[in-house]
Subunit: 344 residues, 2 copies
Amino acid sequence: MSNTTEESLSDNFSSNSKVYSFDVLQNYATLELEKEAYRIGSKKPSTLYEPIQYALSMGGKHIRPVFLLMACNMFKGNIKQSVPAAIAIEIFHNFTLVHDDMMDHADIRRNKPTVVKKFGENIALLSGDSISILSYEYLFRQKMSDSSGILELFTESALRVCEGQQYDLDYEEKEVSLPQYLEMIRLKTAELIACSLSIGARLANATAEDIKHTYDFGINFGQAFQLQDDLMDVYADQDIFGKKTGKDIISNKKTYLLIKAMELANPEQKEKLTYWIKKKDFDETNKIKAVKQIYNDLNIKEITRETIKKYYQKAIREMESINISSERKKELISFTGKMIKRKK
Amino acid sequence: MSNTTEESLSDNFSSNSKVYSFDVLQNYATLELEKEAYRIGSKKPSTLYEPIQYALSMGGKHIRPVFLLMACNMFKGNIKQSVPAAIAIEIFHNFTLVHDDMMDHADIRRNKPTVVKKFGENIALLSGDSISILSYEYLFRQKMSDSSGILELFTESALRVCEGQQYDLDYEEKEVSLPQYLEMIRLKTAELIACSLSIGARLANATAEDIKHTYDFGINFGQAFQLQDDLMDVYADQDIFGKKTGKDIISNKKTYLLIKAMELANPEQKEKLTYWIKKKDFDETNKIKAVKQIYNDLNIKEITRETIKKYYQKAIREMESINISSERKKELISFTGKMIKRKK
């Protein structure tokens, strides 16, 4: 057992003076999530609730619930009492994954068969629906002040995630500009991260101004986080990454890298890119190699890293504006700093 | 313009002494729903919100929101102030229709192409998800007391509807007993009707005991309502019904009629029923005629009517236990009485 696990088991997370690390809160959140997944999995009909338990037990970093708890901790809130909202956020995120995998006809997630692959379309549809409703069940268990605005924020963010997913679908079929792409990832990815952080701050009764800075920190970090995701698909070290690189290139996914490359390409490079995008039958290794060569020639890796840095610096400026001691901010800063340089 | 429409336009629905009819409240609810559907349809991205507007504008009787308003009116609550919850209920019901049609691969609903038929699977999935979230947006607009329990009830009922749908899917593949079938329709159909009535009573600050009777009235009426639906598929006068009869027979849907017939059939009748259920290629008219003949021989029509009556009488006993004047109950009693004898 690691030190952090021991620490998380011996603590009751009610202290509001202590500053907890991501790892410690991740262990805590994971244990609480596993308990709830098990409880949900025992409900009837099992044909509905076992797939839900499966979806909720697929692993992952649980960054959204941990961010909620970290923001709560940053403002000296009670972490233990904020667990229902943290679970609600993670459950909602899992609902989006189950239905996204249906739309993408994805077979594998986190090295396991997706819900749709394992249980079929109807079960994926209905268990996803139920997971979405369950997220509200947990949200309503959360003690909060009437004026917190948490219920409205959660619902607004949930709708924005759907809007982002819709733009993502729309952009499969048509030209996308960089601003449109950045707005899409703001809705689809950054919004729920910002919502998690904002709920944590609200539960800790932070001031309206600090809640706003925390949310904007989340939006800017969330965009940097998604761009790092785009970057890793092409430039990650496959051994560390743990999965195949180049998947976005093979599927012609309109990532920041591709859109930027199309913008910067000279006529010859544009022709080459278009050739590979339109080609129906191709050798995957060849396509990845050819597209990556164009990216290299156009400095796409460095340009993307610069954009990530720009968003992250904006995030940090928001964090600096929060009116609390820097001692209490350091865990969120240090963890998010690692995330935008992550290799897997 | 009909009298009821004129009445509904000239009234502001804030009186708590007046007793409104179903028709008047139906006009009112329909106007409010149309306004909201239009507002939602103008949101961006239109690829997401236009299908939602389409789904919300497909018509129907709107019995759930009207029941909510009628229950509220019965207990002298403020109808006008209860509109957001009524809209939430109808929006949630539409979410279930959009996703149910996906599961059933249904092309037509209320004489129009279904969302999945018109917009495709991905849009039906994502717009359905968004409709479900939108129902909470309206629910949170509803003014209610902290102790009303409405949020928890809504979510519990929503989950039960999903559970009912799951049982319905499960029963396509296996034997079903009558108690299992009745429990399934309780979850899938009666629960949301009872929830609507209960929310109306809660918004009008009815006593806990009266809220319970109102809910149980809804459960028992809801089951009678679904059984009437089963009955009409076989025994409706096609000219009044407005759609083809015998659809459940063609698709081997396990309705009350079929399960009861299998229970009562002698070996020869059972063999005949099984023959038609298993037959892959058949003339639809012949199959309907043959199965209906067995139902007739077994008195299934009369037996089903008796069961409907039994549930409705239970509902009426619950209504009688409600501690208010019979004058205030008469609209709900008269309308539900018509519903369980409806011909379309």
